[in-house]
């Protein structure tokens, strides 16, 4: 049985998404993505130099990888919408990792502005994956207005503090049918595995890979962890609250009545 993730009709086999910021050089990004067999990579539009022939970051993204443009730097919905449109016009496709941050101190997303931008962009045909603070009602509204998935933060970007929002993420997973992808805060492969065990559809990792001693090896480690976590999720005995109906324990009552 196939266990692919489907986003906007596209089949994605590898559930490790990788961000391309913060790496020590560009060629290593290619190696990382290839070694991890990643199929979705985010690239910040602010870093794409389309004019530069010799050193365009897009040249380092393997062809089998979907580029998801990151709107990083957008401080409000309007700026994010402009960045997304520029990205499309520049030929970077229509997958958008929507990031609206008006707080440079903590880098926490602005859920309200994110919602506004999602609505506009989804209507324009973008595949929008919004980065957000895990709030159930906002997540539901994001889906209502057309988000293809929801990307709650595990902890602030770059903090490597792990999945501090696990309880809230669990609620999103339970209540929302669309993919929940933890983005930001994952510092170690074990945390990525944990997200997958919770039932996340995928995880997005950047800092932990980019700043590792050997980013390529670290990417491999994350890849294994994500696979392990997913396998565990699919095969573990469910704990209470996730009861499965396959082998009822009180079935005998009916026959003895």
């Amino acid at each position: 049985m196939s266990d692919s993730l489907i986003i906007a009709g596209q089949e994605i086999k590898n559930r490790l998404f990788v961000g391309t910021g913060k790496f020590p050089n560009k060629p290593i990004i290619k190696e990382v993505l290839e070694q991890a067999k990643t199929e979705v990579a985010t690239v910040a539009l602010r870093r794409i130099d389309l004019e530069s022939k010799e050193d365009n970051i897009l040249d380092y993204i393997p062809t089998n990888c979907t580029v998801m443009t990151n709107t990083s730097g957008a401080r409000n919905a309007q700026e994010a919408i402009r960045i997304a449109r520029l990205s499309k016009a520049a030929g970077c496709g229509n997958w958008i990792k929507l990031e609206v941050i008006a707080d440079n101190k903590h880098l926490l997303p602005d859920n309200l502005e994110t919602l506004k931008a999602t609505e506009v962009l989804a209507k324009e045909g973008f595949i929008v994956l919004p980065y957000m603070s895990p709030d159930l009602s906002v997540a539901k509204k994001l889906i209502e207005v057309g988000a293809a998935a929801v990307m709650p933060l595990g902890s602030p970007i770059g903090s490597k503090r792990g999945v501090k929002t696990a309880e809230l993420v669990k609620i999103l997973i339970k209540e929302i049918a669309e993919p929940i992808i933890v983005d930001a805060g994952i510092g170690y492969p074990s945390e990525a595995a944990y997200c997958m065990e919770l039932g996340c559809a995928a995880v997005l990792v950047n800092t932990a890979i980019a700043t590792a001693k050997d980013p390529v090896k670290m990417a491999e480690s994350f890849n294994l962890a994500v696979r392990a976590g997913r396998l565990s999720y699919l095969n573990a005995t469910k704990s209470s609250g996730q009861a499965s109906a396959s082998s009822p324990l009180t079935g005998f009552l009916q026959t003895s009545e």
Partner: protein, 356 residues
């Protein structure tokens, strides 16, 4: 409320009497003993927040007309240097020269003469530079909020303005004439730009003009004040150290390399997401070593003369604002960064976003 209120409250305190234990501890003489531990912590925080990348930019001097008499500056109105302002075709030539290096972030500078390099001229220049660069910052005389708005609308996204020296008494001595004598108008400039909607703000204290511990304290409190009040701003600081100029101004308070290291690491620990800029005022060896400690932005291929890349050599030689120390060009800096394990970032903003 302005940062001046905070400055005013503490200006007469000795360093030991200043508030904010965490910051004063980091900047104290005592902390010099723990410099290595501070450096280790600063390195980790920098990696987490900025990764292994360094942004590059270069200055472009538009004009050296100046009405001020800052004692430490080569453009001081009393200095007999050839003065000029780039004509539009000269600007285009200079800009094209820089664009060829691949740099996308540019910092335009002028002396202070609203008469000879007026806002209209700066706006016109910005419109030309917009076509070649993805980010334009200004380091010019302080403006009103409305004037900042006009420049932002023209395509400026960053402001650099150094208070030069936070100590108001030293400021008074060092600025004997000209509009720059207005200490508070300069101090409040970044706040006016923030209100006008600027994206990035870079402030600084010209190290060597007053005892550095207190200067660094006020500079960082200023950065913190602005970041807290305007969280949408990308805040950064610069650590310019006095360099030799034409009038042989003697540095009144020496600041050692060790002191610079302490300021950088203290700044990083105090504000983990703060950008820290290092200019070519410092020598290449020190710059190479400081990268790992918390620097996030460097200038490269710099000149401090109007039209310093393309005008006549004899003119350039006699009209430098100050002498730079790290004379490496952009490609040499790029090679050095890659060798040190850092990615040179030439583009980090979406050009002309405002004008779409």
């Amino acid at each position: 409320m302005s940062f001046y209120n905070i400055y005013h409250k503490y200006k007469n305190c000795s360093f030991e009497e200043l508030p904010n234990q965490e910051l004063t501890k980091l900047l104290s003489l005592e902390a010099e003993k723990s410099l290595e531990a501070m450096a280790q912590k600063a390195k980790t925080l920098t990696l987490q927040n900025f990764g292994k990348t360094i942004s590059l930019y270069t200055p472009l001097y538009l004009s050296n007309y100046c009405e001020n008499e800052c004692l430490y500056c080569g453009f001081n109105a009393n200095n007999k240097i050839p003065r000029r302002k780039l004509k539009i075709d000269e600007l285009k030539k200079e800009a094209k020269f820089i664009a060829k290096t691949g740099l996308q972030h540019i910092l335009i500078l002028t002396g202070e003469s609203k008469k000879l390099s007026p806002l209209s001229y700066i706006k016109e220049s910005v419109k030309i530079l917009n076509k070649l660069f993805s980010s334009i910052s200004i380091e010019i005389y302080p403006l009103s909020q409305t004037e900042y708005k006009e420049l932002i609308a023209a395509g400026v996204d960053g402001l650099t303005i150094y208070q030069e020296v936070y100590s108001q008494s030293e400021y008074k001595k060092l600025h004997p004439a000209g509009p720059k004598q207005d200490y508070q108008f300069r101090l409040d400039a970044p706040e006016r730009a923030a209100r006008a909607g600027i994206r990035t703000i870079n402030i600084g204290s010209l190290l060597g003009l007053a005892p550095w511990r207190k200067e660094a304290f006020f500079m960082l409190k200023h950065a913190e004040y602005l970041q807290n009040k305007y969280p949408e701003i990308e805040m950064s600081i610069s650590l310019p150290r006095l360099r030799p100029q034409f009038n042989n101004f003697q540095t009144p308070y020496e600041v050692s390399d060790k002191n610079i290291v302490q300021i950088i690491t203290a700044a990083r620990i105090f504000m983990p997401r703060l950008g820290i800029t290092l200019s070519t005022r410092e020598n290449s060896q020190l710059r190479n070593n400081l990268i790992k400690l918390g620097i996030t932005k460097m200038s490269a291929g710099s000149t401090t003369a109007v039209g310093g890349h393309t005008l006549e050599k004899t003119y350039i030689k006699n009209s430098l604002q100050f002498e730079i120390s790290d004379k490496r060009d952009v490609s040499q800096i790029k090679i050095m960064l890659l060798k040190e394990g850092y990615q040179p970032v030439l583009k980090d903003w979406v050009g002309a976003l405002q004008n779409e």
